[in-house]
């Protein structure tokens, strides 16, 4: 049975394009990492693309995103950070969004209202509440969206953020991307059936949705953002996805049941499913799709070129950005 398309054709094509952008960018990232061009470690988003893109599209440019979980790069892309700046940051180069001080786990882009990521999982939710407070105090109707994985919901900091957001009814949308695994620990073993139930004791609206369906995510997050914008406070959304990739590149995934994994890849790949859905509904043709992919590949190629050509930071740059100087009252002594 063919699933209908619930948004207009242009938006539908944008959704597909953005998911493909994440996919192509990350495939390239994986290769560059494999070749030793990217330092550190790399977590990919495979299976989360629908959730990232639906959420990104539901946000206005002036809404904040505080990224959580470990699937990061797709969220940076969905918030509109230019690919060359992301890639250069993964390379640790001067042209990166953070001039090489951040890397994969710390891409921020304050102008685009990307707060960044707390690499200690679950520590980004309280800052998101603070962002919501700042917007409210400034009298804007901007909201803060913050994501977290199923694993991160076990931290007290996550629950504290719910308490604080509820205490003042702040404009915060909590999205839990439940991909069933915190590295090798299954979400199944956590008590709530729906992780969004963590919002119930705080009297927040809660939703548990199929996060691999970009449209469902888009509609649900849009409604939550609308509520927050109009002063009706926070929402908790569980976006159920499947992690179709290792936890990080190099994870041998010995803990996964192979048959179920293969079946998930068949059934729950958000990009494959959406591609078919748009083709079957005549929203896009094979030829248009090929063009789309070719354009994205060229974009990603350029991003890699940019990163490679961007210089390594001078060692002295390590001492920049620790303090804003002069300190108050010091004049321009330093």
């Amino acid at each position: 049975m063919t699933q209908k398309v619930s948004v207009d054709d242009e938006l539908a094509r944008d959704f597909l394009e953005e998911m493909l952008r994440i996919d192509v960018f990350e495939e390239e990232t994986k290769e560059r990492f494999g070749e030793g061009e990217i330092p550190g470690f790399v977590h990919l988003s495979g299976g989360h693309e629908g959730s990232h893109v639906g959420m990104g599209a539901a946000m206005d440019d002036d809404d904040w995103l505080a990224v959580g979980g470990a699937r990061l790069i797709g969220q940076y892309i969905a918030k509109g950070v230019p690919l060359p700046e992301i890639m250069a940051e993964l390379y640790g180069r001067v042209g990166g969004s953070n001039e090489g001080h951040g890397g994969q786990m710390h891409v921020s882009d304050v102008d685009r209202r990307l707060y960044g990521h707390a690499a200690t999982i679950g520590s980004g939710q309280n800052p998101a509440v603070g962002l919501g407070l700042a917007e409210e105090m400034k009298g804007t109707d901007n909201v803060a969206v913050t994501t977290i994985g199923d694993g991160g919901t076990s931290r007290g900091s996550f629950h504290t953020a719910l308490v604080f957001a509820a205490y003042w009814d702040l404009p915060v949308v909590f999205v839990i991307e439940n991909n069933e695994w915190a590295i090798s620990t299954p979400a199944e073993s956590l008590s709530p059936d729906r992780l969004s139930d963590y919002g119930i004791p705080h009297n927040m609206p809660t939703e548990s949705i199929d996060g691999s369906d970009v449209e469902e995510v888009y509609h649900t997050v849009s409604e939550a953002i609308e509520r927050a914008r109009s002063g009706e406070g926070p929402t908790v959304i569980e976006s159920r996805v499947v992690r179709l990739v290792p936890h990080f590149e190099g994870d041998k995934e010995t803990y996964r049941d192979e048959e179920a994994y293969e079946r998930a890849k068949e059934e729950k790949d958000p990009i494959e499913n959406y591609r078919e859905r748009l083709l079957e509904n005549g929203v896009i043709t094979e030829a248009e799709l090929e063009d789309m992919v070719a354009n994205i590949e060229a974009e990603v190629e350029e991003a890699v070129e940019f990163a490679r050509e961007s210089p390594e930071p001078e060692p002295e740059a390590a001492y920049e950005h620790v303090y804003k100087t002069p300190l108050y009252g010091q004049g321009d002594r330093r």
Binding site: S108, P127, L133
Partner: protein, 321 residues
């Protein structure tokens, strides 16, 4: 024109004036509204500035510190209170990993102009989990500006600067000094961050001390047969090493006394700065005095045993001659 006010009154005045001056300043913490703070440091502020600007929070330092970080990034200037400095540990990740590092990892894009203030120090019989001096913990994480206050004058002038500074500032009043009185100008003033003050001039020995230890160092100075110069660092991170070094170049002797634990404490760091860079200005090895390697006990005689006494400081000074 000056008048005498208490240390906590100086703190309340500093917050009051900054709330008045800048509408982006907001005060929050546990029991800062009608209750007025554990030591009276926020008394009257809620009545004057209202619930938008002075906010009680639920009991969670993680929430207070984490929210302060986000709010600062979002463009307001939070002044957040923790009821005791020890509780910074309950927000360990926020305090050690998030607040001091987000500006750095963002490559300078993120500004976090927030102030956390928390009474520190021992002496009121509050026991091991309410009595620590934490400026060595905090000073060890680059990114925090760590400020202490020794007098009401310090408390007001430094706190106002902390609120105005664009860095995350951890401001540490000392709970034993809450009710001490001192002269504070009527007129508005601020004191520079990152600068030590030579509080007492002397020729024979430099004693570096702040907070309660500053007052004990003064007592010790009166007991010894030496002309003591006392330097109050005021800001522990970044540390104004130059003012201390200059003093030691003059006196040739150094005693560092502080309420942090001696093991890996502030005392060793300050002494090392001089040993490494100004060794030949020293006529004697530097002496470091702090809390011995014990948690702060409750019983008053035990508690006083843990803290450097005026006698211990005096002995330390005399041991250099």
């Amino acid at each position: 024109m000056t008048r005498e006010i208490t240390y906590v009154q100086a703190i309340a005045e500093a917050i009051d004036e900054e709330l008045q001056r800048d509408e982006d300043v907001v005060l929050f913490g546990e029991d800062v509204e009608e209750f007025g703070g554990n030591f009276g440091e926020t008394e009257g502020l809620y009545e004057k500035h209202g619930r938008d600007r002075v906010r009680n929070t639920p009991l969670s330092e993680i929430g207070i510190a984490g929210m302060a970080l986000g709010a600062a990034v979002g463009g307001i200037r939070p002044v957040a209170e923790l009821q005791f400095a020890d509780f910074a540990a309950t927000a360990g990740d926020e305090v050690f990993n998030q607040i001091p590092k987000q500006p750095y990892v963002s490559g300078g894009q993120i500004e976090a102009p927030l102030t956390i203030f928390a009474p520190s120090g021992a002496g009121i019989g509050a026991g091991a989990q309410h009595s620590q001096s934490v400026h060595s913990w905090l000073g060890n994480v680059p990114g925090w500006v760590v400020v202490t206050a020794t007098t009401p004058y310090d408390a007001k002038g430094l706190f106002k600067s902390a609120i105005r500074d664009d860095n995350p500032v951890f401001f540490l009043p000392h709970k034993m000094l809450s009710e001490t009185k001192g002269e504070v100008p009527e007129e508005e003033y601020t004191l520079p961050l990152g600068e030590a003050a030579v509080e007492e001039e002397g020729e024979d020995v430099t004693v570096v001390a702040t907070q309660l230890m500053f007052h004990r160092a003064k007592e010790a100075a009166a007991q010894v047969d030496a002309d003591v110069e006392i330097v109050n660092p005021r800001t522990f991170a970044p540390l104004d090493t130059e003012t201390i070094a200059e003093s030691v170049r003059k006196t040739g002797r150094l005693v560092v006394v502080d309420e942090t634990v001696e093991r890996y404490g502030t005392q060793g760091h300050i002494a090392n700065e001089i040993v490494e860079n100004d060794f030949f200005s020293l006529d004697a090895p530097p002496k470091t005095i702090g809390v011995k390697e014990i948690p702060i006990p409750l019983s008053p005689p035990l508690e006083q045993e843990a803290l450097p006494s005026a006698d211990r400081i005096a002995d330390g000074i005399e041991s250099l001659f």
